[in-house]
């Protein structure tokens, strides 16, 4: 039985209680199917891990044992942040702060029009179909809001190895807000952590969105994010991908209003046989839109790290600015780094430049450090930290930056824990 057949069968087994939206998502999946390797956007994804998933079912309820904070291994709350804790896709009221709960009370209201079935976002349909508690955060307050941290813990069990997040986030005109998303937990047995996030920034809204994927174990991460930016909206999106046995993140940001801007920074690190594959599509659809794309990828041992950035500038997006820098570092026999800095440009009034490099640690830099007395291992770790630091250093607050760095160091096993750029 193919993964799709299994998936649809399991969805059917959930019965009629799933509601119209989830059923429509499953129906869409049936008609478009799962991505295949010969699709250009999925060239580097580990689709075999998807094919081999034992089950797509999420837990029917959070296990009682797991409500204890120690079982959740929840990190300390980020200072100044209110927080919302989800375990296996369900909000944990007792661990969440009151402000956060007040924000997230609305049940998820789906906009089916956004489930563009044929797009590269279609794995988001899995999360839409299976997420038991879809969430909507509507941030309407005209004043700046307390920053919010989502702690998303995947515990799962062999019988229900999947957990899902289906989040719709709407930021009202002129509102500035900060959102942290931490994906934690993970199980030894193969499982799935699926997300679908739909962000809309109204005119002049600003969102600083920092995402840390630090799920451990044999989990497959399938992340899907769509964002739509109206005029003058600003979106800072930071993506730290160090988790999962295999991970694929697919983001699509539509700069729909004039002067909307995206600042995307991403880090992907892998060790062992890990696959870490990121895809970002940026659609410049209005005049004077800007996007900056910065990627740093590190493949240790036999890891595969890939980054595919597809930036398209429409004819009407005059005076768009695109700045792109993708860099990969390999350190291991059997490591692979794949980069695709794509530009599709349909207007002449554009400033676009990109650079992409792959390589190893620079021998001259290494020797310089050795000549100053550093151990070879420490020198390598320092240079790797400096390389990844270009993304890590922009993370705030400090507690989150530390957490991101520690998660990266834990994954790689050979990273300096200090911050050499400080």
């Amino acid at each position: 039985m193919s993964a799709l057949e299994r998936l649809l069968g399991e969805f059917a087994s959930l019965g009629a209680g799933t509601g119209a939206v989830r059923q429509a998502a499953a129906q869409s999946l049936r008609s478009v199917g799962l991505p295949a390797r010969n699709e250009d956007s999925w060239r580097y994804a580990n689709l075999r891990a998807l094919e081999q998933l034992p089950s797509f079912l999420p837990a029917a309820a959070t296990p009682a044992l797991a409500t204890a904070p120690e079982a959740l291994a929840l990190p300390a709350p980020l200072p100044g942040y209110s927080r919302l804790v989800l375990v296996d896709g369900r909000v944990q009221r007792e661990h969440s702060s009151a402000e956060a709960l007040a924000l997230a009370v609305r049940p998820g209201v789906e906009n089916l029009a956004r489930l563009e079935a044929v797009s590269d976002q279609r794995l988001g349909l899995i999360a839409t179909a299976f997420a038991t508690e879809p969430l909507t955060l509507a941030i309407d307050a005209p004043l700046a809001l307390a920053p919010l941290a989502l702690e998303i813990v995947s515990l799962t069990s062999p019988s229900a190895p999947a957990s899902y997040l289906n989040l719709t986030l709407r930021v009202a005109p002129g509102v500035q807000c900060q959102l942290v998303e931490r994906h934690l937990g993970g199980a030894r047995q193969p499982g799935l952590a699926g997300t679908r996030i739909d962000v809309t920034l109204a005119e002049g809204a600003q969102l600083q969105h920092q995402r840390l994927f630090a799920v451990s174990g044999a989990t497959l991460l399938l992340d899907n994010l769509q964002a739509q930016l109206h005029a003058r909206a600003r979106y800072q999106l930071c993506h730290i991908a160090v988790g999962g046995a295999s991970a694929r993140s697919t983001a699509e940001v539509r700069l729909a209003g004039a002067q909307a801007s995206l600042d995307w920074r991403a880090l992907a690190a892998g060790a062992g046989p890990q696959f870490n594959d990121l895809m970002l599509t940026v659609l410049h659809e209005a005049p004077a839109t800007r996007s900056q794309q910065l990627f740093r990828g590190l493949a240790n041992e036999r890891a595969h790290v890939a980054c595919n950035v597809d930036t398209r500038v429409a004819p009407q997006a005059r005076d768009a600015v695109v700045v792109q820098s993708l860099r990969g570092l390999l350190d291991g026999q059997g490591a692979e780094v794949d980069l695709r800095p794509q530009l599709t440009i349909n207007t002449d009034a554009v400033q676009a430049r990109h650079g992409a490099t792959t390589g190893k640690l620079d021998d001259d830099l290494l020797f310089y450090l050795l000549a100053r007395g550093l151990e070879p291992a420490a020198a390598r770790a320092l240079l790797k930290s400096a390389f990844l630091g270009e993304v890590l250093k922009s993370i705030e607050p400090e507690a989150l930056r530390r957490a991101a760095q520690q998660a990266t160091a834990l994954r790689l096993g050979d990273l300096a824990l200090s911050e050499p750029w400080q």
Binding site: L330, L339, P341, Q342, L343, T344, I345, D348, A352
Partner: protein
């Protein structure tokens, strides 16, 4: 800017200068393709059995293939049964043995195209193997080449005289299963050029072929094979122009290069086939497979191309860098004006240790032209110390054109380095005004700026080609500034 725009719009309207038809009786197969056509072509060429068998394998494989759609190209489906797969000028009496015996009309055609064959050949020391449709009709300087031991002849002649070389090398770089168009070529190719440079020989002159497409509704399926034996050098020039036609014409050539140890091959192309009119009607569909293999240590293959013509260009001259320390280079200028579409680039496959590759791609888009660079740099696990540098620049002339960059960088060796840089720019009003203030008219200013943009590539071309390329570019882009 609007003043400049209208002024230049008028200049753009200048028609294609190389459009006319030579009236010669052709020996042409009726349109359509099946096994009997493949057999008929092979029979007319008096080919040995192995070649017929190979063609038939290719044909049968082709039947299982689908036309690729991944390139960023839009065009009406091609009716492969509506094409005639063989067209040869009828010999008047015996085949010509020298230029004097060549049909004067044909020579006149070349003269109109700015290729005064014997003149230029003698003056520039170039041996020309001119292809008129599918059959070679004139070959010069054979004796001088023969003295050096270089074989340079029409492909069909090589079939008769050097079958052992063909059997060894044909399809060894581009296998008959490679891709839809290449496989079709394997089945139905009619002629082309064959070059063999023996061990240690530096080819005494630039080798050159001017291809022409002539007869209506004739697909053109050239096949070129160049073998540089150990320690040898050869520089090969390919230039193309075509008469004006309303129907789209398919062109699916295959070029294979083999460089053995310490050998060097330089392959230069200026392609100026009919691009279609300003509304995008007509023009050549150019689906070409070009690939070279650096088979031996320290070998080098260099592709230089200036692509100004064709309605559609689908072309990725590539290098398989198998030998240790081998070097692959790709220098390209591609323009797309009016409704032209170009999807071109290269593949550099690094297999051997310390292999190096350089890619310099300059794309110029004007009018409604769509120009895409598509390139793969692949570092295999065995390619320790491999290096690539890619520079990929786009120049946009006008608000309705497109410039696209689709690189694939795949590195599987931690000791290799790949660098890719790209930029997109347009000619700024400031640049134009500056030039105008210094007394240049807009057209000269654009030519100067475009020339500067392409200089890195032009300097790789043999001298007389560089001049031709610069002129072609000027004609192609006349007034294309918005």
């Amino acid at each position: 800017m609007s003043n400049a725009n209208s002024e230049l719009g008028a200049l753009l309207a200048r028609g294609y200068q190389h459009g006319f038809v030579t009236d010669i009786d052709s020996d042409t197969l009726p349109p359509g393709l099946d096994e009997s056509v493949v057999r008929a072509i092979s029979a007319r060429k008096r080919e040995p059995q192995f070649l017929l068998d190979w063609r038939l394998r290719a044909y049968r494989h082709w039947l299982t293939m689908r036309e690729p759609r991944w390139a960023r190209l839009r065009y009406e489906p091609i009716d492969y049964q509506g094409i005639s797969y063989y067209s040869a000028p009828k010999p008047k009496g015996d085949a010509p043995k020298s230029l004097d015996e060549v049909d004067p009309k044909l020579l006149e055609t070349y003269a109109k195209l700015g290729v005064p064959l014997h003149e230029r050949a003698r003056l520039a020391g170039v041996a020309v193997d001119a292809v008129f449709d599918s059959v070679s009709v004139a070959t010069t300087f054979k004796e001088r080449l023969a003295a050096a031991g270089v074989i340079f002849c029409p492909f069909s002649e090589a079939v008769q005289k050097h079958p052992e070389l063909l059997e060894k090398y044909l399809g060894s770089v581009v296998p008959y299963t490679d891709n839809f168009y290449a496989t079709l070529n394997c089945a139905v190719f009619t002629d082309g050029s064959f070059v063999y440079v023996p061990r240690g020989v530096r080819c005494p002159m630039e080798l050159s072929t001017y291809f022409r497409i002539n007869a209506a509704k004739t697909g053109q399926f050239e096949r070129t094979l160049i073998i540089a034996d150990a320690g040898s050098h050869v520089s090969y020039l390919e230039g193309c122009t075509a008469p004006m036609r309303d129907e789209n014409q398919l062109h699916a050539a295959v070029v294979e290069l083999v460089a053995l140890e310490d050998a060097q091959i330089k392959y230069s192309t200026v392609q100026n086939w009919y691009p279609g009119d300003e509304q995008g009607r007509g023009g050549i569909y150019n689906f070409v497979t070009k690939r070279g293999e650096c088979r031996g240590r320290n070998s080098r293959i260099s592709w230089t191309q200036v692509e100004t013509g064709s309605a559609i260009t689908w072309k990725y001259p590539s290098c398989v860098l198998r030998g240790e320390n081998s070097v692959g280079e790709f220098y390209s200028v591609a323009t797309a004006n009016n409704y032209q579409q170009a999807d071109t680039g290269t593949k550099m496959i690094h297999i051997g240790a310390n292999t190096r590759s350089t890619i310099v791609s300059k794309g110029i888009s004007a009018g409604h032209g769509q120009n895409a660079y598509r390139g793969l740099v692949k570092i295999m696990p065995s390619a320790h110390g491999a290096r690539n540098h890619t520079q990929c620049d786009s120049l946009l002339l006008g608000a309705h054109c497109g410039a696209h960059t689709y690189p694939y960088i795949e590195s599987r060796n931690a000791g290799a380095t790949v660098e890719h840089e790209a930029s997109t720019s347009r000619i700024s009003e400031d640049q134009l005004f500056y030039c105008q203030q210094r007394g240049l008219d807009t057209e000269d200013a654009v030519n100067m700026i475009v020339g500067g943009f392409c200089r890195e590539v032009f300097k790789e071309l043999p001298m007389e080609f560089a001049v031709e390329a610069q002129n072609l570019l000027a004609v192609t882009l006349e007034g294309a500034v918005g």
